[in-house]
């Protein structure tokens, strides 16, 4: 696909796993809504699954004007080929101008397959999207109202803004947790189009022999307050301080990659580029120096308290409150102050 369709809709490819709608699909609707309103076009969601009616309604309530809902009992569990075939077919038929996917393992498996099939550009793991103009330096041609696809690259050391000037649709995957979850509006109405995808047995190349969903022990994304520590706080005993403060605040415990890698705490607790991106009301970083990969996952917190013995630690660059001092002394002081609050 090459010709831009400037009247095309904005599309969100919703993700459903074994009957559960993924949070990222709703998050994408909030950003998709903004983009569609800026462009003056509709926001549509594509939903594929064994059962689609209920989730299609949820997508409408969270901001979709239309839902293309493909129902087939073989689509209950994701596999690449049939999903890619259906989505690529819909893209070719309806010619949306923007298509966004969640940058989940499913989205990152599906989106490049679809992009390749329709020969469109694709940007991975965006942390923001916007609409703006672009002048292509090689041709000096000016393009109006393109999708800015903003993403960290180079191990998080740079932020790149990518555009697809000529070959549309403009496609991107967007990280989980970076867009706001919209409120549901039960009164919203949208057009739900149910269809039976045209799939043959041969489209299901893979046989899923067995699948296990690990239960997440902690949902950092949903936590209002996160208390995070790193391995260097001095020993497994000292990491105790992280838990104590978290308990005093009713907060979730987070950790840097080093703490996870050294086995002090489960991977589900990891904040940062390779862990979870969070935006809590309060983030307390205990002893975390704040490597760029970590900051990428938490700098959007509304309030950040950093406690570190090193006054030059980069974590202070994103902090709202900074305490330079020994965490073994400072953290108990905080716990004490919190317990005395009433």
């Amino acid at each position: 696909m090459t010709e831009p369709n400037r009247k095309g809709d904005v599309w969100v490819i919703a993700e459903q796993n074994d009957g559960q709608l993924h949070d990222v699909s709703l998050e994408l609707l909030s950003k998709g809504r903004q983009l569609a309103d800026t462009l003056g076009v509709r926001l549509a969601a594509v939903l594929l699954g064994a059962k689609v009616q209920e989730h299609a309604q949820r997508l409408v309530q969270h901001g979709a004007d239309a839902v293309l809902a493909g129902e087939d009992k073989r689509l209950g569990h994701y596999q690449t080929n049939p999903f890619a075939k259906v989505v690529a077919g819909l893209v070719q038929k309806h010619r949306p101008q923007i298509v966004i996917f969640g940058a989940t393992p499913v989205g990152r498996d599906l989106a490049p397959r679809v992009a390749s099939a329709v020969r469109a550009g694709l940007t991975a793991d965006c942390t923001d999207l916007d609409i703006g103009e672009h002048v292509e330096p090689h041709t000096n041609r000016k393009y109006e109202r393109l999708l800015y696809q903003i993403r960290p690259a180079f191990g998080g050391n740079i932020i790149a803004t990518i555009v697809n000037p000529e070959r549309w649709p403009q496609m991107a995957t967007v990280r989980e947790g970076v867009m706001r979850m919209p409120e549901a509006d039960a009164k919203r109405r949208g057009e739900v189009t149910r269809f039976a995808p045209d799939l043959a047995a041969g489209d299901f190349a893979l046989k899923i022999l067995e699948h296990h969903a690990a239960v997440r022990k902690v949902n950092l994304k949903a936590a209002r307050i996160i208390v995070a520590g790193r391995a260097g706080v001095g020993g497994k005993e000292n990491f105790r301080l992280v838990w104590d403060l978290a308990n005093a605040l009713g907060a979730a415990a987070g950790a840097s990659r080093a703490a996870v890698d050294s086995g002090w705490i489960d991977k589900d607790h990891q904040v940062g580029q390779t862990g979870t991106t969070v935006r809590p009301a309060l983030y307390i970083a205990i002893g975390i120096s704040g490597a760029v990969q970590h900051r990428a996952g938490m700098s959007e917190a509304q309030k950040i308290v950093a406690i570190n013995a090193d006054p030059k630690a980069p974590i202070f660059s994103v902090a709202h409150y900074g305490i330079v001092g020994d965490l073994n002394r400072v953290v108990p002081m905080m716990i004490d102050a919190i317990k005395k609050r009433v």
Partner: protein, 307 residues
């Protein structure tokens, strides 16, 4: 039954070792200032291929696209046990985005398949310079192969079907895929073996023609171009006779359609690069005393941050 396997690998700057010096004033990265390494997850893909070869027999061909110095990852692959290696190098491939790269790699796999049909293509899940994980699925699509991403292990290949365990992010699943297919391997895949000392000795002189040209040009500055060319030919022939000339393919060799390669073949353009700028040091400094810490907690309660 032996399997013919192709492993696609990339030489990448070691982004984990980035320092301030690697960042230019305009916010772009000076790649030359960083050590170039074998993309870590590609080593797991190579290891998986080598283990499958040990179990079932077959051949492992490693292909990389890049400048002449990318041959380093090919020598490394030979040292670890690869049978054949190929460098794709062509200036017209520069500035390729993931879509153009996958097109070029798919042409290279097709060319490799001319000698013997390819049963399995293996890639690392993603490269640490871009972290996109897009090239392997795009390559699979262009080759019309099923893909199995995030593979941690291959249990068995039998009856033209491969059983693998893959990470789904939410857990894991075991899948059976028909061959030929493409796998992407994560760092939870088999642990890469070290290069063998014997093989290091055997392949340390292996060079591609582009590398020989660079070496000869550096050694014969001021010499007549004909003399340089003759020396290149001489060295290349000597290496070829010992099986140490690393094959080098251009876009013409792999019959790539130029409209899908390089800048022209890349739908995505970089509009802007910013180095990650730290927010100004606008934080409120709190002394590590009981009173000051209590004061901060009080403020956080007052503004409803702590509820």
């Amino acid at each position: 039954m032996p399997y013919n396997m192709v492993v696609l690998v990339k030489q990448v700057p070691d982004t984990k070792r980035i320092t301030g010096e690697a960042m230019r004033d305009d916010g772009t990265v000076n790649r030359g200032s960083l050590p170039a390494i074998f993309n870590p997850e590609d080593l797991h893909a190579l290891e998986l291929a080598l283990e499958l070869k040990e179990r079932y027999g077959g051949r492992v061909t490693v292909i990389t696209m890049g400048p002449p110095q990318a041959c380093q990852v090919l020598r490394d692959s030979l040292e670890r046990g690869a049978d054949d290696v190929v460098l794709i190098t062509d200036r017209r491939a520069a500035a390729s985005d993931t879509l153009a790269t996958s097109y070029i790699l798919s042409c290279a796999v097709r060319k490799a398949a001319e000698k013997a049909p390819v049963d399995l293509v293996l890639c690392g899940r993603q490269a640490i310079d871009g972290d996109t994980a897009q090239v392997p699925p795009q390559t699979a699509e262009k080759l019309g192969l099923p893909q199995v991403t995030y593979v941690e292990s291959v249990e068995e290949i039998a009856g033209g079907r491969l059983r693998a365990k893959r990470n789904t992010g939410r857990g894991w699943e075991r899948v059976e895929a028909p061959m030929p297919c493409l796998l992407t391997v994560t760092d939870a895949g088999p642990e890469p073996r070290p290069p063998s000392a014997k093989r290091i000795m055997a392949v340390k002189r292996a060079r591609s023609r582009a590398e020989i040209q660079g070496e000869v040009a550096a050694a014969m500055t001021g010499a007549m171009p004909e003399a340089v060319a003759a020396e290149v030919e001489k060295r290349a022939a000597a290496l070829a006779a010992r099986g140490l000339l690393i094959p080098q393919w251009t876009l013409d060799d792999i019959r790539a359609d130029l409209q899908w390669c390089g800048r022209d073949g890349s739908p995505t353009k970089v509009k802007r690069i910013q180095s990650v700028i730290l927010k100004g040091s606008g934080f409120k400094k709190v002394e590590p005393t009981k009173e000051a810490v209590a004061g901060m907690v009080h403020e956080l309660i007052e503004d409803h941050t702590i509820g």
